[in-house]
Amino acid sequence: MSSAQVSVIDDDAAVLRSVGRLLQAAGYAVQTFSSSQDFLTHPGGGAPGCIVMDLSMPGMGGLDLQQALAKKADRRPVVFISGQGSIATSVAAMKAGAIDFLTKPFDASRLLGAVSAAIERDLSSRGAQRERAAVEGRLASLTPREREVLEMVAAGKLNKQIAAALGTAEKTVKVHRARMMRKMQVDSLAGLIRTWTSIQPPSASSA
């Protein structure tokens, strides 16, 4: 876990230094930034980790930075720390995907708990990301005909029906299907369906 990278953003130098120290003491690699702009110019994000940020900062505040990161597809989980958290802002922050919303001053155990949960989520989402990328790579290696066969198999069609739909012999369909199964690295219909549905976007857009 010590390889995890935590970025801390707070405009108050004393708070920034002390929170950075606390996370260092807990064994994280810490980067500190005194403003949202400062962070956006050196966002990092290669290694797994999370972002701990102040809610209210001059210039770009925490909620705005959260939005900016979402636009840049930076998916690192965010933990908010705030000196004056209203219910409205904390709801907005949590809706936008924040892990936790801590009111200053907070106990170390709460911050470290939130950071560790955030890093766990980052790791698991990075794992899922990798898995998805692999499946998408396999999918890309299919020929158009194999892809058609895959979609129809996944839709529950029998070989005979597929052959009729494609206007070919059932035997040819079997050959395509076998090659498709090999390329997708699955050995059963159930495995194929599971892999296929795992990469279906929830909002099945065809773009």
Partner: protein, 559 residues
């Protein structure tokens, strides 16, 4: 028991301002009245011009009347009763028949009762000579009506008992004049000093005491020369009457009603004392004429002085009250504004608290993991100390803003005041995502002002700007600029925002009291700010920026 509790209430009413705690009990009060009456009667006898049987000034009745005016009506009977032994003691020495002695006691008491009842009917409660209305009431009822009515009674008694050979109307007229002068001299003296706050004496500066000494010393010397020297040139006499007037005026203007009453008493004693000893300008005529002339002179000199002193005191009290109200209102607005800022202030306090807690817990981790070097730990401790000092400073500043104090003019550097104000508002500005820019001029002359009040003015402008921007401007474009500089010999502080600005018709209206466009505002901020700046001889105005937003400017004269 009844008497005691009545007296306690009486003292609660009249002696609230004595504050010494040593409040005399009812017996002590009766003793005081008796002793006072005896002494006053002695003075009255001493001021009798032989062979004229009636004193030029008869103070015992005036003393009784003044005591009744200070007491509740239920205490009157025993206060009057207290005077009887003193009356008998002194009058029976003079060989007057007992019937006449008792008759005079009755007429003396009647004067006190008539005057006190008349005054009390129009002005309830213990009388304070603190307004022209009450002074006029006192002059009409106690100085004029009481001696007049009781003199008819007194003269009738004298004729009835057959004491002396004077005519009825002659008796009425002479007793009336004597008692009018006594009421005018003794009444205000007792009334003003009995209700005088000892706090005012203690608050007086040495210069004030020196001035009082000069006034009374001068008055005494002038009276001595004018009224207590063997008369040299009779034709110079009218001019001599004017000699004490400057000192009387001086006392009335500078020393308030107690000072004026004391000066009048001194003049009266000196004038009559001189004439009784055969000195001064009133000696070249019959005793009766002398008494009448002196009485007329003293009454004519005293009434305007007394009224002048009361009028001035009434006005200065009105000014003090207005000043006090302004202070109260200023404080109220300041506290209301700090209430609006409370969220931001909590934010500001939470920062050092967070730093302290996180630093301390980081140190605990370092120590538990045995990873903390002494250098890291000492840095942590240093940061904790700094954060603690910072929190203390925030609380100290808040305390001075919350406190209610007198306006104190001191040399102030406006750049420092701006820095302090932005520190207090920092939390509010941060939670509203306002970007603060400072353009502080170098070598700005100091201004003479009250730190807290000027902080209040600037804080009000900063908070207004911050609220206007957070309501009507996108977060990235909220810029507050504070500039200081000099302009035409004045120090100028400008608070400029990038908010929605204000329509032209609000340009002056926003400085009116209770005018507000905010949902939760009192509408007092700007009107009080302008009043504060005016007290500092400066100007406060607002204008719409050409490029949007509003600017508010404060100019203050360089000290």
């Amino acid at each position: 028991m009844d008497v005691h509790s009545a007296s306690q209430r009486f003292l609660g009413l009249t002696a609230r301002r004595w504050r010494t705690g040593a409040v005399p009990g009812p017996l002590a009060q009766m003793l005081l009245v008796a002793v006072g009456y005896y002494a006053a009667a002695r003075v009255g006898f001493a001021f009798t011009l032989q062979p004229n049987p009636i004193s030029t000034l008869w103070p015992p009745n005036a003393l009784l009347l003044a005591v009744l005016l200070l007491a509740p009506a239920r205490a009157w009977w025993w206060l009057l009763a207290a005077a009887l032994p003193a009356h008998l003691l002194i009058e029976l020495q003079s060989g007057v028949p007992t019937a006449m002695v008792l008759g005079w006691y009755a007429s003396n008491c009647s004067e006190a009762l008539i005057g006190a009842a008349l005054v009390r009917a129009f002005a309830p409660g213990p009388l304070r000579l603190d307004s022209l209305r009450k002074a006029g009431l006192f002059l009409l009822c106690a100085v004029l009506a009481a001696p007049l009515l009781s003199s008819f009674f007194d003269a009738a008694l004298v004729r009835l008992i057959g004491w002396g050979e004077s005519e009825y109307w002659d008796l009425v007229q002479r007793r009336f004049a004597s008692n009018v002068l006594a009421e005018l001299t003794v009444g205000p003296l007792i009334l003003t000093w009995a209700t005088f706050s000892s706090a005012r004496l203690r608050a007086a500066t040495p210069a004030r005491y020196a001035e009082a000494a000069l006034i009374f010393g001068g008055l005494f010397a002038v009276c001595l020369v004018a009224f207590d020297l063997p008369q040299i040139d009779a034709r110079a006499a009218p001019a001599l009457f004017y000699a004490p007037l400057p000192f009387l005026l001086w006392a009335a203007v500078r020393l308030g009603t107690p000072g004026a009453a004391s000066a009048i008493a001194l003049l009266t004693v000196a004038t009559i004392g001189g004439a009784v000893s055969g000195l001064g300008p009133f000696t070249d005529r019959t005793a009766e004429d002398t008494a009448r002339e002196m009485q007329l002179f003293l009454i004519a000199a005293s009434v305007p002085m007394l009224l002048l002193a009361v009028a001035l005191e009434e006005r200065s009290r009105a000014e003090r009250e207005a000043h006090e109200q302004r202070l109260q209102l200023t404080h109220l607005a300041r506290v209301a504004m700090l209430g609006e800022l409370s969220g931001g202030i909590a934010h500001e306090l939470n920062q050092p608290l967070t730093a302290i807690l996180s630093n301390a817990q980081a140190a605990q981790h370092f120590i538990a993991n045995k990873t903390g070097s002494p250098q890291v730990l000492s840095e942590i401790l240093q940061d904790i100390v700094l954060a603690d000092l910072r929190a203390g400073e925030i609380i100290r500043r808040l305390h001075t803003l919350f406190k209610r104090g007198e306006t104190q003019f001191r040399p102030l550097d406006m750049n420092t005041v701006v820095g302090e104000v932005l520190d207090i508002a920092r939390g509010d500005l941060a939670t509203r995502s306002v970007d603060v820019r400072r353009h502080l001029g170098e070598s700005i002359p100091a201004v003479s002002g009250d730190r807290v009040e000027l902080q209040q003015v600037l804080l009000n402008l900063v908070v207004n700007a911050s609220e206007a921007m957070s309501a009507g401007t996108a977060p990235g474009r909220r810029v507050l600029t504070v500039c200081t500089g000099t302009e035409a010999g004045m120090v100028k502080v400008s608070v400029i925002d990038s908010g929605p600005g204000f329509p032209a018709e609000q340009h002056e209206r926003m400085f009116e009291a209770f005018y507000t466009t905010k949902a939760q505002g009192l509408g007092l901020g700007l009107s009080i700010s302008r009043a504060i700046v005016r007290v500092h001889n400066g100007h406060l105005w607002g204008e719409a920026n050409p490029g949007g937003g509003a600017s508010f400017h404060v100019t203050l004269p360089a000290a």
